[in-house]
């Protein structure tokens, strides 16, 4: 019998390239299950990614898919969505892809509230290039370019998305893929710019450099550093520093960019305008 997954993947591409225990595969599974639950017309689904281990996801699913360049997935997706607003456009990025090289595009996509769903696989490291620190590497943790510990303060991706104007913002984990799927479903269904951050693992880089020995230990670690949104609110500021809140942080309605542009088209056509 074909599983849900079998119905969506490009089987010839498997086994995939990711390392044993890498969270990218778990996130891919969660995305596929969310899409399947929504029962969308497959011909109208487009998945766009940047560059990184996580961005390889687009090669594995049989939609219209595009593995673009490092950091720029969102503007590519913006062009696609503007050109054909009937398409459901999902953008999958790594933490570095989304918030280092692509940080500017991220805040502007949120500001415009363009109807895209951004799924960010946050393994807190540059996996593909071998474990350099990213803007989401926690302070004091190690990376190949932070051999003495990271002194940078990391972004809170969700807070950034909210401040920049996104319509839906949530955070899940690979430890709880069921919750991740349900958050993704809500995000995919939301009109406007929706964001789901998934706390993930990179056992070979982050794990090794930060003395978390195995994929199993990484999952346990993810369980330890995450708390429900409600529990998070009861924590002291010091306790909060060590933890990530999990759940839905924002769901609001605001006209999305493509709708607003339809208004522009109406205006331009009605007024005839100054030539």
């Amino acid at each position: 019998m074909k599983t849900v997954i079998d119905r969506y993947i490009r089987e010839e591409m498997f086994p995939h390239i990711w390392c044993p225990g890498c969270g990218n595969g778990i996130v891919l599974g969660a995305i596929i299950r969310a899409i399947d639950d929504l029962n969308w017309d497959r011909d109208k689904i487009v998945a766009v990614s940047g560059i990184g281990c996580s961005s390889r996801i687009t090669g594995y699913v049989d939609f219209c898919t595009m593995n673009t360049v490092h950091g720029r997935a969102l503007p590519f997706a913006t062009g696609i969505k503007m050109a054909n607003s009937d398409l459901k456009v999902i953008v999958i990025m790594g933490d570095g892809d989304c918030l280092a090289i692509g940080g500017n595009h991220f805040i502007h996509a949120a500001r415009r509230n363009i109807d895209l769903t951004a799924i960010i696989i946050n393994n807190m490291i540059y996996g593909m290039t071998g474990g350099q620190y990213s803007p989401l590497t926690p302070t004091t943790k190690f990376g190949s370019t932070a051999p003495y510990g990271n002194i940078d303060q990391s972004f809170d991706l969700c807070e950034l998305a909210i401040a920049a104007g996104a319509s839906y913002v949530a955070r899940g984990t690979i430890f709880d893929p069921r919750q991740s799927t349900s958050l993704m479903k809500k995000a995919l269904d939301k009109k406007g710019f929706s964001v789901v951050e998934i706390i993930s693992d990179c056992p070979v880089s982050y794990g090794k450099m930060n003395k978390i020995k195995s994929p199993i230990d990484m999952l346990k670690w993810i369980k330890d550093i995450t708390v429900s949104k409600k529990a998070w609110e009861g924590l002291s500021p010091d306790e909060k520093k060590e933890k990530y809140a999990i759940g839905e942080f924002l769901s609001k309605d605001r006209p999305d960019y493509t709708e607003l542009y339809e208004e522009i088209i109406k205006k331009a056509q009605e007024t005839g305008g100054n030539k």
């Binding site: 490009r10 090669g59 049989d62 219209c64 898919t65 720029r72 997706a77 913006t78 062009g79 050109a83």
Partner: protein, 386 residues
């Protein structure tokens, strides 16, 4: 009634405005850009005119994003345009390479200004000729056109779209500050007189579609996203199916094929004009706004009894090697005036294969080269010969 002569529709247009008009005539439906002198009027025109025809305009956060959005919109089925100048053109390069490698049609305008760096924002230059050829990394083909009048900006913008759709490749339109901002009379073609080319669509069912498998002309049919043909696009070396590969033979074949599709069709792509070259012993080779001055120089030289002619290059890339080689066999001297320190002159030298002397004449001070200077260069060379 049909015998009534069609009234010519003459308009006074600025170069950038003519570019926008040409794009509309060619069927542009999407523009993404970021303001920069001397290209901004193209964006402003597009912002005003695109929504009137149901098209879309978006001002992105930078030129990288603009280029990305243009590629995305093209994949989703719209003819797409972006316009910029030197600093912005630098930012577009990585995505331009992505579009070339994935054979995504689009038109990129570079209204050249003095460089390097911020340089001379309001002064003309032809300093980006080699950037147009080699700006993005890796071996790649490119089509670049250089108009020299406002009328040509209009007609070549249409051509640029047609080439991009026909050959599934980005086309660069190289303006310079002078012709971008100059106002001239333009003969507006009637829409029915314009040839508009649209990308080939697949004729096979989705299961059989290979997005990078070429037809005989070297160009693969292109399914737009959302049309029921799921496939993958990647900047990684890819198979005909669009999936990443590491097989060296397939990679070699792919990269040669995207070059070949341009070379094979070079006769269709090469546009140039010859002026008084029949009996010439000295040829000027010029392009863009400098070609205007060079044409005037030819007249002045002829008045003085000098046998000078002009080859005006319009298609810059691919380079017209053969045409220049033939010319080099006929004349004793080729002078290449250009607003840079010698970019196209090196290509002319290469194409001439030592059959005649090739002499550069360059200016990089932001001033337009004038006919008298070029004449002076011709006379100086005459002196040397004696």
């Amino acid at each position: 009634m049909n015998n009534l002569k069609k009234k010519k529709n003459i308009k006074l247009l600025q170069g950038n405005e003519a570019c926008a008009e040409g794009a509309l005539l060619a069927g542009v439906k999407f523009f993404a850009g970021y303001p920069i002198t001397p290209s901004t009027e193209i964006a402003e025109n597009m912002a005003r005119k695109l929504p009137k025809i149901g098209g879309k305009f978006i001002q992105m956060e930078d030129e990288i994003a603009s280029m990305a959005a243009v590629i995305g919109a093209s994949i989703a089925g719209l003819k797409s345009l972006t316009a910029t100048s030197g600093p912005g053109m630098c930012l577009k390069q990585e995505n331009l390479g992505f579009a070339i490698f994935n054979e995504i049609p689009c038109v990129v305008v570079n209204a050249q200004r003095g460089g390097p760096s911020t340089g001379l924002p309001t002064k003309p230059s032809q300093g980006d000729m080699m950037q147009a050829r080699w700006g993005t990394h890796g071996d790649h083909p490119v089509i670049a056109l250089a108009p020299s009048t406002v009328n040509e900006i209009l007609t070549l913008t249409i051509k640029a779209f047609n080439f991009s759709e026909k050959y599934r490749t980005p086309v660069i339109l190289l303006l310079d500050e002078v012709i971008a901002h100059m106002r001239e009379k333009v003969e507006m073609p009637a829409p029915e007189d314009i040839e508009v080319i649209n990308r080939k669509k697949p004729t096979v069912p989705p299961e059989e579609y290979l997005p990078f498998k070429p037809d005989e002309d070297g160009v693969p049919p292109m399914a737009n996203f959302g049309e029921g043909y799921p496939y993958h696009i990647t900047g990684l070396a890819h198979s005909e199916k669009g999936l990443p590969i590491s097989d060296s033979q397939q990679i070699d074949h792919f990269i040669r094929r995207i070059h070949d599709k341009i070379q094979k069709n070079i006769k269709d792509i090469l546009i140039y004009e010859k002026y008084l070259l029949e009996d010439a012993d000295t040829a000027l080779i010029a392009y863009g706004s400098v070609a205007r001055a060079a044409e005037r120089t030819v007249k002045l030289a002829r008045e003085k009894g000098l046998k000078v002619g002009l080859l005006k290059l319009i298609t810059i890339w691919p380079f017209p090697d053969e045409i220049i080689n033939k010319l080099a066999h006929k004349v004793n001297l080729i002078i290449v005036p250009e607003m840079n320190l010698g970019q196209i002159v090196l290509e002319v030298e290469r194409a001439s294969q030592g059959k005649c002397r090739v002499v550069p004449y360059g200016r990089v001070d932001g001033e337009l080269i004038n006919p008298i200077e070029i004449l002076g260069k011709i006379q100086e060379q005459e002196e040397i010969k004696k």
